[in-house]
């Protein structure tokens, strides 16, 4: 009996520990299969394209992870992204000489404002995140159409300097990738080595304990939604620069891809847990699926079904692992 229990413990614990490894193995296997079916998959060109696409997704996942860690959710990021992307695009089309960095800062600021409004509604207003973000999603989307008057900002209206944000290279790497990597590093240190980072996880793990421990929960909630908004704003500028077009329906429904990337990466919707390494892998897996399934001639309808199934499988594995870990905690004790 004791031996059996011990065995269970080790299996449960090791899956939890090597969760990221499992994801990595899955990504490698998937790549090999796709490569066998279509040799153009692992070409430098395609890989570059894939990672560049994933960069924006993973930037948003970083913010979404923080939100989900506090037991929240943000459905408004697609709209925030569209709004700040649109305003940045309109601004550069009016002032073609504007430095691209200023455009990035402008977009980020707009995102920050959107996120702060949201944060206030949720922390001070006490509105459930899903409701508040659902409402503001529509407000921000509406503002996007109003700002543009329903028109698109197309490639020819944007100066080359703006479009080059997404095509230029720093140290041989695409700028989008460099920005994403910078954000991972900052987020990693923020989460693991700062007081506020620790407090975010405390609030998500046990809000009541966190409150009694003297943590200002309102401040933490406001902060995570403000960070999420800023990252959405930044992503908006990058998106518009990459696709060289700003539309009213830019990134519509994109929030679900971001949430999916988080869930795939092991962020628990119940709050309190999530790692940067996990969401990077989750984003990459989702990016590969988006890229590879069309390459091996899977019909678009099947693509969605396959993506959905993989997300469900990830969640089920997550639940099983969690159950194993919980049992482990209950059992393990020196006797």
């Amino acid at each position: 009996m004791a031996g059996k229990v011990l065995e269970k413990v080790t299996i449960g614990a090791s899956i939890a520990k090597f969760r990221e490894l499992g994801l990595l193995v899955f990504i490698v296997l998937l790549s090999i299969v796709v490569q066998l079916r279509n040799p153009s998959f692992l070409t430098i060109e395609n890989i570059n394209d894939m990672i560049t696409n994933t960069a924006i997704l993973s930037i948003l996942s970083v913010g979404m992870m923080l939100v989900i860690v506090t037991r929240g959710i943000d459905l408004s990021i697609g709209a925030t992204l569209a709004l700040s992307g649109m305003i940045a695009a309109l601004t550069v089309s009016d002032y073609p000489d504007l430095h691209p960095i200023l455009a990035i800062i402008l977009g980020t600021l707009i995102g920050l404002i959107c996120g702060t409004i949201l944060g206030f509604l949720i922390s001070k207003g006490g509105i459930l995140p899903i409701i508040a973000t659902l409402g503001l999603m529509n407000v921000f989307r509406g503002l996007t159409y109003m700002a543009s008057g329903g028109k698109w900002v197309s490639a020819y209206q944007m100066p080359t300097s703006f479009k080059s944000i997404a095509t230029s290279k720093i140290l041989g790497l695409n700028t989008l990738i460099v920005i994403a990597i910078l954000i991972y590093i900052i987020a990693y240190y923020f989460i693991n080595h700062t007081r506020t980072g620790r407090q975010i996880y405390a609030v998500g793990s046990n809000p009541e304990s966190a409150k009694i421990s003297g943590i200002n929960i309102d401040r933490i909630l406001l902060l995570v939604y403000a960070i999420m908004g800023s990252l959405s704003g930044l992503a908006g500028v990058l998106w518009v620069s990459k696709f060289a077009s700003a539309q009213g329906d830019t990134a519509m429904g994109y929030e679900f891809s971001v949430i999916a990337a988080c869930v795939l990466g092991g962020v628990s919707i119940a709050g309190g847990s999530g790692k940067i390494s996990g969401i990077i892998l989750g984003s990459i897996l989702l990016g590969i699926l988006n890229n590879a399934l069309p390459l091996i001639n899977v019909s678009p309808f099947w693509q969605m079904g396959i993506q959905g199934s993989i997300i469900l499988i990830a969640v089920i594995i997550n639940a099983l692992v969690k159950r194993g870990v919980d049992r482990n905690h209950l059992m393990r004790r020196k006797i």
Partner: protein, 400 residues
């Protein structure tokens, strides 16, 4: 309740039949309330009875009761005993898990002791003495249930005058000095926790004044309270005191992170060092400070929460039911810790429903009933009877 009566074919739930059945079961247990009432509208004791009725509805031959009396008052426990005895007489076997000795003597025919997840032994209740049971449970002899202590009472650290909150408590006044242990007791629901949660800033109060070290303060949140030198050990360590899925070390330092950080950056080494030394000082039994809080026993979890208080620079420590649900050995360890705290000059408030604990530990005892203080007694004049009288007095007998 759990397994509904369903009409064959349509699968419609037969509410009326269910209610009749529920009423019958409740009547059997001598409970006379409406089965349609919402659980939230019942007292803890009544909820307990519903739980038992639920167990009965399956025609159970064996019922396992896990700490059913832990949250009950003496009178309510007595009702539960009666029901349990009725069940026993009807031929149901009952396994009654409890850390209360009274439960054993009152109910059980046989008693089995487990310690640290090991089987220690089974005895006939008639043939075993209190001392033997304690030795079996603790693994050593405890000669002194409450360690002796010479109180060195110093300056006043906390004074509360006429504190009140509509609907919760009124006219609460007392003082606390350095090195003093003030016991606060009364029945569950007398407003003890509410008073101190409002002083600590978790909730608010409507009237009255609070003085900390002679200065009037109005504490608005727990962080403010800690900065003023007040620490609070919550009643429910799992829900309010700990982050169960975190390690011991992180739990200990959670409320004092600013002490371990410069401009927001944490100093991991310093943090681990302090957490380790506090954990050792509290004698937490674990392999390392990275062991998860959820893996600890109740007593050790409680030690972690006390260690957490000690990271902050405090003068006043409020302990809300610090020995609730922990075994005899851990209780004794907790008493030693409390005495040590008082010796170091902390002013300690000990909120507890256990009378021997209050009498054995406190320098001064405050009794509350229905939101008001009904008695303040010095250690020399405290008796069980006096506390009982003060906590159960009728309004009619209360002198104006």
């Amino acid at each position: 309740m759990g397994h509904e009566k369903v009409q064959k074919g349509t699968k419609r739930i037969l509410w009326n039949e269910m209610h009749t059945e529920a009423k019958k079961l409740l009547d059997e247990l001598g409970a006379n309330f409406d089965p349609r009432i919402q659980m939230g509208g019942l007292s803890v004791a009544q909820q307990q009875i519903v739980e038992i009725a639920k167990a009965l509805s399956t025609d159970a031959k064996i019922i396992i009761m896990d700490e059913p009396t832990a949250a009950l008052t003496k009178k309510e426990s007595e009702e539960l005993y009666k029901i349990t005895e009725q069940l026993r007489d009807k031929g149901t076997a009952i396994i009654f898990i409890s850390h209360r000795f009274e439960d054993m003597y009152r109910l059980a025919s046989k008693v089995t002791v487990l310690r640290d997840a090991l089987y220690i032994g089974t005895w006939e209740v008639d043939g075993i003495s209190n001392e033997d049971l304690i030795i079996a449970m603790v693994g050593r002899e405890i000669t002194q249930r409450f360690p002796k202590r010479k109180a060195k009472i110093g300056k006043e650290v906390l004074r509360v005058e006429g504190l009140g909150k509509t609907g919760f408590f009124a006219d609460v006044s007392f003082t606390l000095h350095r090195g003093e242990i003030v016991g606060l007791t009364g029945l569950v629901g007398a407003g003890r926790t509410e008073v101190f949660q409002s002083i600590f800033g978790i909730t608010t109060y409507d009237e009255g004044k609070v003085y900390v070290k002679g200065n009037e303060v109005r504490i608005t949140n727990p962080l403010h309270a800690m900065n003023m030198g007040i620490g609070y050990l919550p009643e429910d360590r799992q829900k309010q005191g700990l982050v169960l899925q975190w390690g011991i070390g992180r739990n200990i330092t959670l409320s004092a992170l600013e002490r371990f950080s410069k401009q927001g950056w944490l100093n991991d080494d310093h943090e681990a060092e302090v957490a380790k030394s506090l954990s050792e000082r509290m004698n937490v039994k674990a392999n390392s400070i990275f062991d998860l809080a959820s893996s600890l026993s109740g007593g050790n979890q409680q030690k972690v929460v006390v260690a957490k208080l000690l990271t902050a620079d405090l003068d006043i420590i409020i302990l809300d039911e610090p020995t609730k649900g922990v075994d005899v050995g851990a209780k004794f360890a907790m008493y030693e810790i409390i005495n040590e705290l008082a010796d170091q000059g902390y002013g300690v408030i000990l909120i507890s429903s256990e009378m021997p604990e209050i009498i054995g530990m406190s320098d001064k005892v405050i009794v509350m009933r229905e939101g008001r203080i009904t008695a303040i007694m010095e250690q020399t004049e405290v008796t069980q009877e006096a506390i009982l009288e003060a906590s159960m007095m009728n309004k009619a007998t209360l002198k104006a």
